[in-house]
């Protein structure tokens, strides 16, 4: 820990301090305004949302960091993951709930992973030196995928599927009865957060990815085939979004709008955290989740409508950019 702090650039130390103070203020305001039980429920909702957003935003951040591609199709990957997983679950009704759920996760992640590999190698790679074209391409892909999902699976929202019995229980938290599945989502988000952190910090491929985020050309000059690493990261980013997609289905079902809703949240998270910073994305996901949940609860309490929910995170993004233009944990351009 001491070593970690000693190695942190001064502006990142300041960001940590800001984050700690900001979360403390949110907690104090919640406790003062809502009372212990509602505040606890609000924080739980915020963390839950933060973990879901993290699954989409971490992929977006990794892809942007290494490939310099702002992937507008990231929301579509979540959408496809949700619908393919849902369809797999429906199709395998002869199996046990556990097996169906596992198959749904594998099919969602596998399908989107393969799709990601094809998109990176076939469509994005020829455009690496044309960033504007990449943006247009991923924007177009997002529209095409949305249309395809609608045509294949229909325009109606999909009802939440039953999670496996193990995750289908109830527990009481702050005087509210909640589905165990919500805890599972938080746990899944934490597992992925730590796993990707370990991948990036403790493995050779992770070190290559982090180096490539700074200078892919230099990595290549060291004898590393950086294109292969690009593909791997794109697949990983797409698969994380798909995992987020299928994780949502037992909780909220699937709708055609979910991809774009999470894409906007993910973009806000990546901007607040600092473009390309994994650490920043992880922290900003929690901060955005908490901010949205507290703002929603505040506006419900005082205005009887969740009017502040959406604007709160945009205001937060503006405030962060005013204080630190490169985001909380982004790198100042030289």
């Amino acid at each position: 820990m001491q070593n970690y702090l000693a190695n942190l650039p001064p502006q990142h130390r300041r960001s940590w301090l800001l984050v700690v103070i900001y979360i403390a203020v949110l907690l104090v305001v919640s406790l003062a305004d809502f009372g212990l039980n509602t505040a606890g429920q609000t924080v739980f909702r915020g963390i839950l949302l933060g973990m879901l957003v993290f699954l989409v935003a971490s992929g977006l951040s990794l892809i942007f960091g290494l490939l310099d591609v702002l992937n507008f199709a990231q929301g579509a990957f979540l959408l496809i993951g949700a619908y393919v997983g849902n369809a797999t679950y429906d199709a395998l009704d002869a199996l046990s709930d556990e097996m169906r759920f596992l198959a749904a996760i594998l099919s969602a992640v596998g399908t989107v992973g393969v799709l990601g590999a094809i998109i990176e190698a076939g469509l994005i790679r020829p455009l690496y030196k044309r960033p504007i074209f990449q943006i247009v391409l991923t924007f177009g892909l997002a529209a095409i995928f949305l249309d395809l999902v609608e045509r294949v699976y229909g325009p109606d929202p999909k009802q939440p599927i039953d999670p496996p019995a193990l995750l289908n229980g109830k527990f009481t938290l702050f005087a509210q009865s909640l589905s165990t599945y919500r805890l599972f989502i938080i746990f899944l988000g934490l597992i992925m957060m730590v796993s990707v952190y370990i991948l990036l910090n403790r493995t050779r491929i992770g070190i290559i990815i982090r180096a490539g985020v700074q200078d892919a050309e230099m990595v290549q000059a060291l004898g590393i085939n950086v294109r292969r690493v690009f593909t791997l990261v794109f697949v990983l980013g797409a698969a994380l979004a798909a995992l987020g997609g299928i994780a949502i289905v037992p909780y909220q079902g699937a709708t055609l709008e979910m991809g774009n809703q999470f894409l906007i949240l993910a973009i806000v998270v990546v901007v607040i955290g600092g473009m390309g910073s994994y650490e920043g994305t992880a922290i900003a996901s929690i901060v955005v989740g908490l901010t949205r949940a507290v703002a929603e609860q505040l506006s419900l309490t005082h205005f009887d409508a969740p009017v502040l929910a959406e604007t709160s995170i945009l205001l937060l993004m503006i405030a962060v950019l005013l204080i630190q233009p490169s985001g909380l944990f982004g790198r100042e351009e030289a």
């Binding site: 982090r210 700074q214 200078d215 230099m218 004898g223 590393i224």
Partner: protein, 240 residues
């Protein structure tokens, strides 16, 4: 261009032409590097020295001409394949990976498991400070320490040729001395092709030189001959 007729060459560049976008940067560069030597590319700012190194390593590949490394044509190959043939590259701005520790900056250059362990004595013998700085992030190092790390990184795998771009740039005189010592010592292990703007440094380090002027190699030979040729120095290098 004059050539003193070196016969066995580790690197033989013949008449390369390199473009950056629409700009014709190298308009005929030929460089011959014998094994075990330190050869320096000299010339004014913007003459094409850095582009020559980038052309060799494949980051800015030449459109025409030939680059033979250890008897094999390497032009047109991707940079990672050229590097794996045994060419190390130390770029102009060092390009140390700021968020990685010194240890990780070295580990990333391993081409085979254990490369760093095998080279530890050589690297820490040349740059003892790096051992002390092992757990620090690259971004926290001084300019001189970053330069040491950039050269050390190129020494991790078994490279037969090192391309070093402006090793003295932006460094204090005392650090330049240390760097020169290190380059002299490492030339016992590998061939060095150097770009150096500081003529005094270049003339003390190198045995051979190639002058590049407006994208063309215009003169080459032994550095001992060049230091006595004031006319050549004044004409091409602007050094009195």
């Amino acid at each position: 261009m004059k050539n003193d007729g070196a016969s066995s060459l580790i690197l033989d560049i013949q008449d390369i032409h390199t473009f950056i976008g629409e700009f014709h940067i190298l308009e005929g560069v030929s460089v011959q590097v014998p094994p075990g030597s330190i050869t320096v590319l000299l010339g004014r700012n913007g003459a094409g020295k850095t582009t020559t190194l980038r052309s060799i390593i494949g980051l800015t590949p030449p459109k025409t001409g030939q680059i033979m490394f250890q008897g094999q044509a390497i032009q047109g190959k991707p940079a990672h394949k050229i590097a794996r043939m045994g060419i190390g590259y130390v770029p102009e701005n060092r390009i140390i990976f700021r968020d990685l520790t010194v240890a990780q900056n070295l580990q990333i250059a391993e081409r085979r498991k254990g490369d760093l362990d095998r080279k530890a004595d050589l690297i820490f013998g040349l740059f003892p400070d790096l051992k002390r700085l092992y757990t620090l992030r690259g971004g926290n190092l001084s300019g001189g320490q970053q330069q040491m790390l950039a050269i050390a990184r190129a020494l991790v795998p078994d490279n037969s040729l090192l391309l070093i771009d402006e090793p003295s740039e932006g460094l204090a005189p005392v650090i330049i001395e240390q760097m020169m010592d290190a380059i002299r010592q490492l030339s016992a292990h590998t061939t060095v092709l150097l770009v150096e703007q500081n003529f005094q440094v270049a003339s003390q380090l190198a045995e051979r030189y190639v002058i590049i002027e407006e994208g063309m190699s215009v003169h080459a030979g032994l550095i001992t001959d060049l230091v006595q040729n004031n006319e050549l120095i004044t004409t091409y290098l602007g050094v009195a």
